[in-house]
Symmetry: C2
């Protein structure tokens, strides 16, 4: 299953995603990027680092679930890694902004889209301000964008209110468990119906 | 929310439904029927007992979510009671066969359809035989019908395997909790986003 954790800047996507562990069946998607590797980052773990030519080659072969440009650098989600992890039985987690999430959903309608949001816009503003990673102009811009992003909520499968990180993680685990009960994800159970034991 | 517990005869629909209690937010739907009241049954609790004319009047006014005839008696699900309980905040539970469930889904696309099934057909056969309420011909008929009913699985929202009653009830509770996280059922949370606290 492909699980997309999305929502406005400041909604807590990153923090929540870090709590979805491999031991519970989750695998994090790894992005491709053309930006410089920073000290401490590991190729193939934090990102797949590549040249612009390499990036374009994958993109033009329809090998990306979504892609975007930030500050002149390309970022994208390679479908190959996602597919490989899904085949191994993992729930692949993609933490991504709203534009990217909707790009992925268009290519993969079976992806489960979760919109993460603090209980109120004022709380969102508060979180953007207190994390101190953006200046006032950037905070304003991200906050205004959040209104447009919330307008996309009807395109999402689920809304999880991130008032408390433990509650949000519990809701996400619960959604994944329920999604696995959909007939489209139950082929193994259904094939088991026709065991020939007892001549049934 | 309208929750439909459905599946073949012998799947354990009745047993599972009895475990969905009002204290946990569930209300059982009450059927209308033209059959005779049996000793111990209470009008308005077990069934709404009525004449054929009364039944036809409700049916012709499009007041039934589904209806069927068994042994010359009419049975149906009045929409009015279901709607009233939903307005009061209950998850209304309808325990019904596959034909009826699909009738309701056609009228109420927002209904959540759960298909209940033992792990295998041979286990289904075993349960039909050991409950001893049908003769061999009727067991055969119900068992053959189960194959057609399972073919309708793709029209359902969820498949719950009833290998163990506690597990099946747990899965159903989990589905209801996840369904409440869908944006279409989250109007109250969404309206709360725009509190004007802090001028946000």
């Amino acid at each position: 299953m492909l699980l997309i954790i999305s929502g406005p800047s400041g909604s807590g996507k990153g923090t929540v995603t870090k709590r979805l562990h491999p031991g519970e069946g989750y695998a994090l998607s790894i992005s491709m990027t053309t930006r410089e590797k920073r000290p401490g980052e590991i190729h193939g773990v934090d990102y797949v680092f590549c040249t612009k030519d390499e990036f374009r080659e994958v993109r033009d072969a329809d090998g990306l679930l979504e892609h975007a440009t930030f500050s002149g650098n390309y970022y994208g989600t390679p479908a190959s890694y996602v597919n490989q992890q899904i085949r191994q039985g993992y729930t692949v987690v993609l933490e991504i902004d709203v534009v990217g999430a909707l790009q992925v959903k268009a290519k993969r309608p079976d992806a489960v889209l979760i919109f993460l949001m603090p209980p109120t816009f004022s709380e969102l503003r508060h979180r953007l301000e207190t994390r101190g990673t953006e200046d006032e102009d950037e905070i304003d811009r991200r906050f205004r964008r959040a209104t447009d992003e919330v307008a996309e909520l009807p395109k999402y499968d689920y809304l999880v209110i991130n008032d408390d990180i433990d509650n949000a993680v519990r809701d996400i685990n619960l959604i994944v468990t329920a999604e696995k009960l959909k007939p489209g994800r139950s082929d193994e159970k259904i094939s088991h119906f026709h065991d020939n034991y007892n001549g049934a």
